[in-house]
């Protein structure tokens, strides 16, 4: 049984928009996502959905951190 605080940290980490790059250049999955069980992954999905909505609402252009991350890659920024 995983410690509740450690689980919460994994959910929050997986709910962020940062993702590692794969050696071939693709977008890799978050290590924290792999450490969660199915219920934790579902929880992370819900937290992600809400986070992106809030981020978009806070952004003057209506862009979430997912959109910002993708645009940064397209525009050639790390």
């Amino acid at each position: 049984m995983i410690d509740p605080r450690a689980r919460e940290a994994l959910v929050e980490a997986a709910a962020g928009a940062w993702r590692p790059r794969r050696p071939g250049g693709g977008v890799g999955s978050h290590p924290a996502w792999h450490d969660l069980d199915a219920a934790g992954r579902e929880e992370a999905f819900r937290a992600t959905t809400l986070s992106r909505r809030l981020e978009a609402a806070l952004d003057p252009e209506g862009l979430s951190c997912t959109a910002r991350a993708v645009l940064a890659l397209i525009r050639g920024r790390p």
Partner: protein, 190 residues
């Protein structure tokens, strides 16, 4: 939802600002379309990869004449990538679910773009956040997904777990503040 295909000619011509406007409208539907993969694939990674590939193929994309052709194509691309990821993770899945949802992406009169009332309210809510949750939230917003939480927390002088706790507190406090302001924010569907 609004038909976002009016951005398509500019996107196909390589206009990343037009792609940004399309993304602002399309992302919630795309994420919702990956809902069924939540436990078997990292849908955030899948979505970002799908959006990168979509940008690459957009100049060669031919719309089918129905509203939101690019969005429907994006949903199919994202679901196929999710299936690959599911198999890589050792699970089984099929694409049968969700075909009807694709048909529902037709045009209606919904306005496109950020909701100014929601933005005003959420900015007020952010002002009311406690200091540490606000610092954590602002760090994530400023990074725009380009920097890891380990980097952001180190910059703020917070332990990683404390930083992540504060991110969660900020999200819950914002959602609660919005709810008190009359805006219900669901966790399942943006």
């Amino acid at each position: 939802m609004a038909d976002l295909d009016h951005h398509l000619p500019a996107i196909a011509a390589g206009d990343d600002q037009a792609y940004a406007r399309w993304l602002a409208g399309a992302e919630p539907e795309l994420r919702a379309a990956l809902r069924t993969f939540a436990a078997t694939a990292d849908t955030e990674a899948v979505l970002q990869e799908a959006l990168l590939r979509l940008w690459q193929v957009a100049p060669r994309f031919t719309p089918d004449g129905r509203p939101n052709a690019l969005l429907r194509f994006a949903v199919r691309t994202a679901r196929n990538l999710a299936l690959d990821e599911v198999r890589r993770n050792g699970h089984s899945a099929s694409l049968e679910a969700g075909v009807l949802e694709l048909e529902a992406l037709g045009r209606d009169d919904a306005p496109e773009g950020p909701d100014p009332l929601l933005r005003r309210l959420i900015l007020r809510c952010r002002e009311r956040l406690a200091r540490k949750p606000r610092l954590a939230l602002d760090a994530r917003l400023a990074a725009g997904g380009a920097e890891s939480d380990a980097l952001l927390s180190a910059r703020l002088g917070m332990k990683l777990n404390t930083f992540l706790q504060n991110v969660g507190r900020a999200r819950k406090a914002l959602a609660e503040c919005l709810r008190r302001g009359g805006v219900a924010v669901e966790e399942t569907r943006p």
